[in-house]
Amino acid sequence: MSEMRLPSALHAAPGSGAELLSELGLVLYCGAGIIFIVVVALALHATFAKPSPAGTRAWIVGGGIVFPLLTLFLLLNYTLAVGSAVAALESGTALQLLLDCFGIDAQKRIPPPSPGTMRVHVIGKQWWWEVRYEIVRGDTSTAVLANELHLPVGEPVELLLTTTDVIHSFWVPSLAGKVDMIPGRTNRLILRANTPGLYRGQCAEYCGGQHALMALYVKSQPRREFETWLQRQARSVTRPDDAFLLAGYEAFFKGTCPDCHTVRGTPATGKSGPDLTHVGSRYSLAAGTLRNHVGTMAGWIAGAQDIKPGNAMPDSEIYTGRELRALAAWLGSLE
């Protein structure tokens, strides 16, 4: 878990919506560059060449009306086509034609969600992400985690994005464009990656003091690996047998931890903080702020306010050194 190789956020993952957006950006930048050069050349020509009245009208009509109209018409359709392909709209005939016109082939389009499409609810919170997988349609309570999303390679996954406090924006630059999370609304985003990989996402709408420390990881992995992972996430935990881990389990209930956190299978059913049932399996702690190992876990429990000042988790200062180590070890063992 400690070794993470992340691609640059500027690199669009193959088969993702970000790839189409990145092509769109390239067309716009290159097109604007070419037009700029032509305009400068014409301005220099007009300044230095000998004046000749011939063809004035053609230049004005051609360069001033026909050219911008044609360019803008093409660009508008192209951006609409990209938008449709990324947003996974149902492909009607007219839309199909538009997409085909601009060379956006079926391979690149994000397919519209079918009844079998995996649905994941992502809820923005200050300052972390709650992630709920719908293993059974309509049931969001069996696999709940935080700050991490897994996708099966090559398959579209439908995200339902909302928030319980302020506006956030879900953004994984390598996979798709930004989609806002707005109180009282649910926005949709389809994510797909055609190659296995780990990507980093970031809240892209200022949401308060620790907005910069609100990140998440997205992992795309082969279908079978994904299913094993998801089944494990849905499992409850049991009271540990090992004496040291048991001391950690008891420390969890000695403190105020269960008031805010759920650990499925135990009496801890707090709702306001992240579900910790499988916290040991996550890449990061505190929403992409820290790597996840026993040292950072202990440091986060005892010093959450140093690391992310103002976040909802208080510094836990009631534990003896041994209890803190045991608690960190028990949480780390929940994989």
């Binding site: 010093g303 050194g321 041994r322």
Partner: protein, 120 residues
């Protein structure tokens, strides 16, 4: 100040540092690698460590001027081999410590200790 005077002053400072670093804090570790390992393991979550960006934790003691500490955790003599062991597996020395045993190699622990001994 002339160049010669500058060189003389620099030599004086360097030799003075040399003599103070001979005993007893001699350790075979790489200071720079130690710094990188401290960043990677995020020791700064719990400790204030000069030279490590963002290392301002208050859970454990500050490690500023660590070389001058006489005791590790206020209890064990601050000797290289003791420090290496404490960095890697504190509970094996001090069962009541809050500092967990952190997964790292012997070499990484030596590098970290070397970095700590570079803090004067």
């Amino acid at each position: 100040m002339s160049l010669r005077a500058l060189i003389a002053a620099a030599t004086l400072v360097l030799t003075a540092r040399q003599s103070s670093s001979d005993v007893p804090h001699r350790i075979t570790g790489d200071v720079q690698r130690g710094q990188q390992t401290i960043v990677r393991l995020e020791c700064g979550v719990c400790h204030v460590i000069p030279g490590i960006p963002g290392a301002r934790g208050r859970v454990g003691p500050s490690l500023a001027a660590y070389r001058r500490n006489v005791y590790i955790a206020g209890r064990y003599p601050n000797l290289p081999e003791v420090l290496v062991r404490f960095v890697r597996d504190a509970p094996s020395l001090a069962p009541d410590t809050a500092m967990p045993s952190i997964a790292m190699s012997e070499r990484e622990a030596r590098d970290i200790a070397a970095y700590l001994y570079s803090l004067e």
